[in-house]
Amino acid sequence: MTLTYREAIARGIAQEMRRDENVVFLGEDVAAAGGVFKGTVGLLEEFGPRRVRDTPISEQAILGAAMGAAMTGLRPIAEIMFSDFFAVCWDIVANEIAKTRYMTNGQISLPLVIRSGNGGGLRFGAQHSQSVENWAMAVPGIKVVVPSNPRDVVGLMSAAVRDPDPVVLLEEKGLYATKQDVPDGEIVDELGKATVLREGDDATLVALGSMVPKTVAAAEELAAVGLECTVVDVRSLVPLDTATLLREISRTGRLFTVEANPRLCGWGAELVSVVADEIFTDLDGPLVRITTPHIPLPAADALEDLALPSVERIVDTVHKSMTT
C-alpha cells in the first residue's frame, strides 16, 4: 500500500512492538499528540500508555531512561524531536551510551534506538535544520542509519530495533511527506547494506537520506546528455557497506558524494579516504564532494536553497567534472 515517509515510521515501530513486548517507546509529544511530525500516530491507541510514553522536554532524561532501560532488559525506542537537540544530551549519547559496552568489557549491552528528525529544507533555520549524521558517526560505539524512502524506514527501523547495539536512526524531515508503494507484511532489513538504485558506467554518485531522490533526479538529467551514472543510497554510515561502495566506484572509476552536511569532516570525506586507500589505481578522475558550504543553514527560502545541494548543482558539478 502507499505510505508516506511519516506513516512508515509508525508502521515500523508498530511492527516491532507487536513482535516483542520488551520494545517500548518514549519521547516528547509522541503519545496522544502522535508526534510533532505525526510520525507516531496510532501507537498510543494500539499499545497503550504503558508502552508508549510522553516525556517532559528533558533530552537527558529521555536518553538516560532509554539507556537504563536497555541495560536492564527492555528494548527502548527514544525520540529526540529534532536532531539538533542531540547537542543537549550529547553526554548520554557520546560518553555513556557509546562507551558503556567497551568500558565494561562487554558486561552491558544497550539494544536501543534513538530516532530523530534530521536535516534542512523546511526553512526552520540553523537550530532546527542540521544534518548531524557526522556527529554520530565520529563516536565509536553507535550505529548510524538514514533511510531515504518509506520502505526503507520500515526495514531499517526493524533492523535497528533488533540490533543488539545502540542505533541512531535519522529521519529526513524534508522527506516526511514523500510517498511510495510499500509491500504489506513484515519488512526486515540488515544494517550496513547500501542499495544500488541505478546503474551506469560513467560515474558513481553516492548519496544519503534527503539527497538520494535529488541524486536520482540528477542522474536522469545527466543520462539525457549522455552521461550514465550509478546511484548508490548509503542507508547506513556505521556500519558502512564498503563492499558495495568500492565495487561500484571501482567499476566506474569516478566518485561524487552528495551530502546535506557542512563540508568539513562530512561522511563523504571518510568515503573518499577509504577509496583513496583501497582502490586508488582504479580511479579515472578526481573524487568530488558536493556538500553545503561550511556554514549554519540559513532560514530564508532563497538562502537555504543555495546552501543545500540541488538537482541542478549535482548535474552541473558532475557534468563539468566529467567533460573538462
Partner: protein, 337 residues
C-alpha cells in the same frame, strides 16, 4: 525536614546486620587505604577518587538493599562497588590495570561495573547516571520486578541540569529509584555553599519535585540504614522516588592529586573526630558486642585485603586482543563491513 536519629535505625536492626555493616566499614576503609598505598607506588595510574570517611553510606545501603536491586555510582565508586559484594581482587586488579580486573583493564577506577552484583556502573560525568538510574527503575516498574535503583552522587551534582531532569522525570513517572546525595561539603575544591543557592543542596530542592526533604547523618550507619530501609520500601510499594541527603566528609582531597589544603584545620579535625569506623565500633561495644568479635572482623578483613593485593598484582598485562573487542555486541570493533 526529616532527620533520622541513631535510635530509629538501631531499633530495627539485628546484631547480625550491624556486624555486617561494621565489616563493610572496615573493608571499604582498608581497601581504599591500600589503593592509596598502591597509587603512591605508582601501581595505580591515572587518577583515583577515594571515599575514606564516607563509608557509612555505602555500607548501610549495601546491607539494606535487596540482592537484585541496582546500584549506580559516580567516579568515587570503589565503596559502592564493594558494598554490593563484588570481590576485592578484581576491583583492585582493575585499579592496577591488570587483565584479571573487573573489566580487564578497559574501565579503570572511575568505571567500576559488575552487572552480576547489580552494580550497574560508575559514571565519570557529573550527573549523567541520575537519568540512567531512572531508566533502570522504569524497567523494573515495567517488569513489575520489585527492584529498586539506588543512585549515589555528590553534592556538586545538585547544580547540574541532569539532576533536575532526573528528579522531575522520576517523580512524574513515580519510578522506584532512591537518589542519595553524599554531601561531603565540597564540590571538588570549592565549598558547596559558595556555589549553591540553598544551604542543603539536595534536601532543600526535594519539595520542588513533591518529595519529602530527608537529611541524615551520613557518618552514622544505623541512621543511614533506617533511611535506606524506608526509602527502599516506599519505592518497592510503588510510592515513587526518594531523595536522601547524607551529610559526610571525605578525609582526603577530591582526587589523588589534591591534598585538600583548602579546608580549615578545625573543620578537618572536627570531622576526623567523627570518623564513622571507630565511632561505630565504639557504639557496638557500648551496645554489648564483645571486642574480640570486632577484632576478628578486623583481622579477617586485613588478611583479605592483603590476599586481594597479591592476587591483583599477580594479574597479567591486558593483551592486544582486548583492544578491539566489545565496541559492538558481535565482539568486533569494525565500523564498516
Amino acid at each position: 525536614m526529616t532527620t533520622t536519629s541513631r535510635a530509629d535505625g538501631a531499633a530495627t536492626l539485628t546484631t547480625e546486620e550491624r556486624l555486617a555493616m561494621y565489616r563493610l566499614l572496615v573493608e571499604l576503609r582498608h581497601f581504599e587505604k591500600r589503593a592509596y598505598d598502591l597509587f603512591l607506588q605508582n601501581l595505580v595510574k591515572g587518577t583515583s577518587h577515594l571515599s575514606i570517611g564516607q563509608e557509612a553510606i555505602a555500607a548501610a545501603f549495601g546491607v539494606a538493599m535487596r540482592a537484585d536491586d541496582y546500584t549506580f555510582a559516580t567516579y568515587r565508586g570503589h565503596a559502592h562497588t564493594l558494598a554490593r559484594g563484588v570481590p576485592m581482587t578484581p576491583v583492585l586488579a582493575e585499579l592496577l590495570g591488570r587483565d584479571n580486573g573487573l573489566m580487564a583493564g578497559k574501565g579503570g577506577s572511575m568505571h567500576l561495573t559488575s552487572v552480576e552484583h547489580g552494580m550497574m556502573g560508575s559514571y565519570a560525568i557529573i550527573g549523567a547516571h541520575l537519568p540512567i538510574a531512572c531508566g533502570a527503575a522504569w524497567s523494573a516498574q515495567y517488569r513489575d520486578s520489585g527492584q529498586v535503583a539506588v543512585c549515589f552522587f555528590g553534592d556538586g551534582t545538585t547544580n547540574i541540569g541532569a539532576f533536575h531532569e532526573a528528579l522531575n522525570f522520576a517523580a512524574v513517572w513515580k519510578l522506584p529509584v532512591v537518589f542519595v546525595c553524599e554531601n561531603n561539603l565540597y564540590m571538588e575544591y570549592t565549598p558547596i555553599g559558595d556555589v549553591t543557592a540553598v544551604p542543603r543542596p539536595a534536601a532543600d530542592r526535594a519539595s520542588s519535585y513533591g518529595l519529602e526533604p530527608i537529611v541524615v547523618d551520613g557518618n552514622d550507619p544505623d541512621a543511614v540504614h533506617a533511611v535506606a530501609a524506608t526509602a527502599l520500601a516506599r519505592a518497592r510499594a510503588g510510592e515513587g522516588p526518594s531523595l536522601v541527603e547524607a551529610l559526610t566528609y571525605r578525609h582526603g582531597g577530591h582526587s589523588r592529586a589534591d591534598p585538600g589544603k583548602y579546608r580549615p584545620d578545625e573543620e578537618v579535625a572536627a570531622w576526623l573526630a567523627r570518623d564513622p569506623v571507630p565511632m561505630y565500633r565504639q557504639r557496638l561495644v557500648t551496645d554489648g558486642v564483645e571486642e574480640h568479635v570486632l577484632d576478628d572482623i578486623d583481622d579477617a578483613v586485613h588478611a583479605a585485603v592483603d590476599l586481594a593485593t597479591e592476587e591483583a598484582k599477580a594479574g597479567g598485562t591486558p593483551g592486544e586482543g582486548l583492544l578491539m573487542t566489545d565496541v559492538w555486541a558481535d565482539g568486533g570493533s569494525s565500523w564498516r563491513n
